[in-house]
């Protein structure tokens, strides 16, 4: 099917793998690999820091420069590049120049220097954290160089709203291969061989799940449903969001492959309602795929029918739990049900159902295309492949990173993440979100894979990593996560509905210096009762932060209750702010900033804080340029 233009191609249905191949050839034929391309990151982070204005300014500058239409650089917007803390980001291809913190005012210079004259704009380059040296190319920046991007591979290079870009990058090749060269059972075997374990938290082997679904379908004679879990609700986690926004076709192709493997004709994508861009991009992707015959009736002329519908999440964290998610799709309140019958047998509407996480689905096409063995060669034996982590907290390079499973924790935090601002070692890191655990610096060499993290008392969860430094109090952290889950509890079962509040109340006491070692004992015993007794994993894993902080930071707990002291200087009832008379220059900044007017002193003379008036908000400490305010 020779096609003249990509526009014409988009309208025509593809009826065979050959059609897909010729469409791809024709798209590539129209592209000059040496043509300059200006890529503006349109991820949520960069949009928030002004990417739209940057793009508009770049367009204007280009027009002003009057660059010949034929060689005019193309402006492309893509999904999140993962380095949101440096946004807005602009990348110039084919050189791979990486410009960070770009503003609309930089547009003229980028166009004149780089696009017209081929020069680098030094001041927009990333500076190495240690050497201060400017690094011009994206791939040389440690944050990117040390990653291994599989799931995130296409994100940042493709326009997620244009299926041609995905097809040019090799999209839907796996689907063509499966439909025409593989039986459904072979697809399942390939996934099994890959060793892929679910990325949504529990780490259940995906191939095994699919295999038991196949058995259930045979037994019951019903077709199955395939479902994408895009409810991502952990605070600080945004990896699934990034995948759905930045490469929606990866999720869709994975789902169609799963549907083919399991003989499903209907699929659902359950997407968090707070992700409108993800929903939009998935919808566009589905529409474009349908128009090309990659979704819907008679996919790629193979005779296989499958379609998908998007469901907006009901806005509750617990709706990400499999049984609650099903009841929510069925149109009822999302409450978990005891699952002594597995959902591969009785899931959505009582039918065999395969539910997988966004990132799990997004791995499938590459597994089918490159083979399960290739995938299994990445990572470590029982945790194969790569995993995306969202690195947040007290770390220089806040962002999304993808590394092979089994990478040491310290490598992610210090080498890729650039360590704690200021250079001191991190104190702890919370992995696995609110249901995960808190690991101390001493455990920094732990391999980040499912089993090692569990052995250390934490868990992989969906891939959140919150880095803490010495100014973070573990009692406060444990309280924070408990309070989050307390609010998110569906209230159905007693251990969670009452237990989380009661645990938090004990911790509230500790943060005020009230408590005894008997209270710590009770807390642990209650935590175990909640772990054992709760109906679903929300309650069942909620005690993890409390138990791991108690395991690794017991002294800090004891300091609160025995010495009435918060070593991190966080728990308001246990701290006092003071001003070091030797360091105070009497600049009066703190006195002006204090909302309580608690700080007095003459100009150029040391200031003092009136403890009666002080509410311990810490504003003085933040405002002092001379480090004269301390907390004890």
């Amino acid at each position: 099917m020779p096609v003249a233009t990509t526009e014409a191609a988009s309208a025509a249905r593809l009826n065979s793998p050959q059609d897909l191949a010729s469409l791809r050839d024709s798209i590539l034929a129209q592209r000059d690999p040496n043509q300059q391309e200006v890529i503006v990151c349109y991820g949520t982070g960069c949009l928030a820091s002004g990417a739209q204005q940057v793009e508009a300014a770049l367009k204007k500058s280009l027009a002003k420069a009057g660059i010949d239409a034929k060689v005019r650089p193309l402006i492309k917007t893509t999904g999140c590049r993962g380095f949101c803390s440096r946004g807005p980001l602009v990348v110039i291809q084919p050189q791979g120049l990486f410009y960070q913190k770009v503003s609309a005012a930089d547009a003229d210079e980028i166009v004149d220097s780089t696009l017209v004259n081929g020069q680098v704009v030094e001041r927009l380059l990333y500076k190495d954290l240690q050497t201060g040296e400017a690094i011009a190319r994206e791939e040389d920046i440690p944050f990117y160089k040390l990653q291994h991007r599989v799931v995130l591979g296409r994100i940042g290079t493709i326009d997620p709203t244009d299926i041609n870009d995905t097809i040019a990058a090799g999209g839907y090749q796996a689907l063509a291969k499966a439909l025409y060269q593989m039986t459904p059972e072979q697809v399942v075997s390939e996934v099994e061989r890959s060793g892929l374990r679910g990325r949504g938290g529990a780490g259940f082997p995906t191939g095994r799940k699919w295999k038991s679904a196949l058995a259930a379908i045979k037994k019951k004679g019903y077709p199955a449903y395939v479902v994408v879990n895009g409810d991502e609700g952990d605070p600080g986690a945004f990896m699934d969001c990034m995948v759905m926004e930045g490469d929606p076709h990866a999720v869709l192709e994975g789902l169609i492959l799963g549907a083919y493997a399991l003989g499903a004709h209907q699929g659902y994508m359950y997407v968090r309602a707070e992700y409108p861009v993800a929903i939009k991009h998935l919808t566009i992707a589905m529409d474009q795929a349908r128009a090309l015959g990659l979704l819907g009736k008679n996919i790629l002329g193979s005779g296989f029918d499958f379609d998908v519908q998007i469901n907006r999440g009901a806005g509750a964290f617990v709706c990400g739990e499999s049984t609650a998610l099903f009841t929510s799709i069925e149109g009822r309140a999302g409450e978990p049900k005891p699952k002594y019958v597995r959902s591969v047998e009785e899931g959505l509407w009582g039918r065999p159902t395969v539910l997988n996480n966004v990132e799990s689905w997004a791995n499938i096409a590459q597994i089918i295309e490159k083979g399960g063995e290739w995938y299994a060669s990445l990572g470590v034996p029982h945790s194969t492949g790569t995993k995306v982590f969202s690195l947040v907290g007290k770390v220089n390079n806040v962002g999304l990173v993808e590394v092979p499973m089994g990478t040491p924790l310290v490598h992610i935090i210090e080498d890729i993440g650039g360590g704690v601002p200021g250079g001191e070692p991190f104190k702890a890191v919370q992995t696995g979100g609110p249901s995960g655990g808190c690991l101390p610096y001493d455990m920094r060499d732990v391999a980040v894979d499912f089993d090692s993290l569990t052995k250390a008392g934490s868990m992989m969860g969906s891939g959140g990593m919150i880095v803490m430094d010495k100014r973070d109090c573990v009692v406060d952290v444990a309280r924070y996560f408990l309070r989050f889950l307390e609010e998110e509890s569906c209230g159905k079962c007693v251990p969670c509905r009452l237990g989380l509040t009661r645990m938090r109340e004990i911790l509230d006491g500790f943060s005020r210096g009230v408590g005894s070692e008997k209270d710590i004992e009770d807390l642990v015993s209650l935590a175990q009762a909640v772990q054992d007794g709760a109906l679903c994993a929300l309650g069942g894993s909620a005690p993890n932060p409390v138990l791991t902080t108690l395991k690794y930071f017991k002294d800090e707990y004891l300091a609160h209750i025995n010495e009435k002291r918060c070593p991190a200087g966080v728990c308001k009832d246990l701290i006092t702010y003071g001003i070091d008379a030797d360091k105070c220059t009497g600049c009066m900044t703190c006195a002006r900033q204090c909302p309580q007017n608690a700080i007095t002193g003459e100009k150029k003379k040391p200031h003092v804080i009136n403890q009666e008036l002080c509410i311990r908000c810490g504003i003085c400490m933040e405002s002092c340029k001379f480090g004269a305010v301390n907390v004890a």
């Binding site: 309140a333 609010e487 007693v494 009452l498 009661r502 009770d522 209650l526 175990q528 007794g533």
Partner: protein
């Protein structure tokens, strides 16, 4: 016929039975609050927990919903089971200090006091949901439902307006394990409530 072990005793069960049904059949007592033969189990109170497995691997499950299986080894009074029960009862005592039924049950399992402060001395409802289920599944009118979610959850009529749907049958009062339903019926049915409480309450 399925052969299994409960508390070291060899027992037999029918396919499709739950652990609780099997235990009761053999005179082994497991405490329950949200279970009732008349309605679908919901697994809310978790009081009926048992431990299954052996020395190398075990897990705590609820007996009212866990299906029996050949060779299953069940402990109804292991340390883990006792710990779950103890804390559930201690928390419920603080939640529903006004329920004599609950106090008696707790005492039976050795829980006589609670370390937790009570938020409402009048409260009797443990939110087991039996009233809601019996009204929906047996009576078929759905005059009662839970309102709110999570820690704010309560039993009320749908959307907390007096429910004209209530037929004053008293089923909810009968199934309620704590006596809470007779107390709160006024709020739900208004005028008809007195009648129901007389008929079904104690």
């Amino acid at each position: 016929m399925i052969n299994m072990v409960i508390d070291g005793r060899q027992v037999q069960a029918q396919t499709g039975w739950t652990v609780l049904e099997t235990a009761r059949q053999h005179g082994i007592h497991i405490p329950t609050l949200c279970y009732h033969e008349a309605v679908e189990p919901s697994g809310a109170c978790r009081l009926c927990v048992v431990e299954i497995g052996d020395e190398t691997w075990s897990k705590v499950v609820i007996s009212c919903m866990y299906p029996v299986a050949e060779g299953l080894n069940v402990k109804t009074d292991s340390p883990r089971v006792r710990n779950v029960r103890r804390w559930i009862l201690e928390m419920l005592l603080a939640e529903c200090p006004a329920s004599p039924e609950l106090r008696a049950l707790a005492a039976e399992y050795g829980v006589k006091t609670t370390r937790f402060e009570s938020h409402n001395p009048e409260e009797q409802c443990i939110l087991c949901g039996l009233c809601v289920r019996v009204c929906r599944e047996v009576v078929g009118v759905s005059a009662i439902s839970t309102v709110g979610r999570g820690v704010h959850k309560k039993i009320g009529s749908p959307y907390e307006v007096a429910a004209d749907a209530c037929v004053a049958c008293g089923s909810c009062v009968t199934v309620c394990p704590t006596g809470a339903m007779s107390a709160r019926l006024d709020a739900i049915r208004g005028a008809g409530a007195g009648r129901v409480a007389e008929k079904g309450g104690k």
